[in-house]
């Protein structure tokens, strides 16, 4: 993508809205094997998270400092209000590391969307959320099968106490939900929110820039547009946190459904 190319498309002078191609930023190599900028951001985010967690839990003070307090409050949120409340106090501890990692990785990568100098929500590239959703999908199937046995797991998809003729229909529906809808929506929800939010912000900022450079009364509208861009940025912050929370919450829900005693 280049500004010149975009400019030509709009007929020389007009404004061309940013499109999906703004997300393609290869750094090393090209094509399918390129190391792209979001990959580097992901590695940076993971390193940051790992460093922060290890640094703040090193001293393990009974009365926590600022860093430990932060870590503990996020951990408490994931441990108590997501894992414990949803999976149940019996065997939630097995899944706390998974959910905690998931939440932090997604949250930090989402926040990269509004934090300079990163300004790129990693999860707006579908490869990342799909990989995470796939991980969750594999895990909740495995723990479900471990708990109920291979046949028992598929049987447990159908709620007990249904009239006989309805069982096949419900089974097919549950199968589609279980095998297809859940992982796909889990990944795409995160991707779609990040993608749309980022493209919206790009649109506001580039549109405001375009109007500022134009003549007449348009620069006033450009200033208003940039003000909206700031409001959208704050809104994005909320959405980024919320999506990380929803992703983790739904992962916990799916795992809880798989390990529940009676489906």
């Amino acid at each position: 993508m280049s500004i010149a190319a975009l400019g030509m498309e709009g007929g020389g002078d007009g404004f061309v809205a940013p499109d999906a191609s703004i997300f393609w930023e290869p750094v090393i190599g090209s094509g399918a094997t390129a190391i792209t900028r979001p990959v580097i951001l992901l590695v940076i985010s993971a390193a940051l998270v790992a460093w922060f967690l290890l640094a703040t839990t090193k001293r393990r003070a009974l009365v926590p400092g600022k860093g430990q307090m932060m870590t503990e409050s996020v951990y408490g949120l994931v441990r108590n209000s997501i894992a414990k409340d949803i999976i149940g106090s019996h065997d939630f501890m097995r899944f706390v590391p998974l959910l905690f990692t998931m939440f932090l990785l997604i949250l930090v990568n989402n926040l990269f969307g509004v934090i300079p100098p990163f300004n790129y929500p990693t999860m707006s590239r579908i490869g990342f959320p799909v990989a995470l959703a796939l991980t969750v999908w594999v895990i909740f199937h495995i723990v479900g099968m471990k708990k109920h046995g291979f046949i028992g797991y598929w049987k447990s998809l159908v709620p007990s106490g249904l009239p006989k003729p309805m069982i096949p229909a419900i089974f097919v529906l549950e199968l589609i939900t279980d095998l297809f809808t859940r992982p796909v929506t889990l990944g795409l929800r995160l991707f779609g929110n990040m993608f749309a939010g980022h493209i919206l912000m790009a649109l506001f900022i580039s549109g405001g820039w375009y109007m500022l450079q134009a003549g007449g009364i348009l620069p006033v509208a450009g200033v208003v547009t940039w003000a909206f861009a700031i409001i959208m940025t704050l809104f994005e912050l909320l959405v980024e946190f919320l999506q990380a929370y929803v992703f983790t919450l739904l992962s916990a829900l799916y795992i809880a459904g798989a390990v529940a005693d009676s489906h």
């Binding site: 409340d85 809808t181 859940r182 796909v184 929506t185 889990l186 779609g192 919450l249 829900l253």
Partner: protein, 69 residues
């Protein structure tokens, strides 16, 4: 005027889930307001319902990219 008609399709597919998600959370808020101690029980149900309802809108955006003109 130029553009992708798939975006219209996505807009249409988002109407139903939008209303549905609104209904789910309206019911959830109502329930919690009436019985605050039931929050823990209602929250997973509300989010599960949201996930299922929102699936249609998410399929909409996916298909808007897949079936491009």
């Amino acid at each position: 005027m130029t553009g992708n008609i798939a975006i219209l399709g996505y807009g249409l597919s988002a109407i139903g889930p939008g209303i549905g998600v609104g209904l789910i959370f309206a019911a959830y808020i109502n329930g919690v307001a009436r019985q605050p101690e039931a929050r823990g029980m209602l929250q997973p149900i509300a989010f599960l319902g949201m996930a299922i309802t929102e699936a249609l809108a998410i399929f909409g955006i996916a298909l808007a990219f897949v079936f491009k003109v």
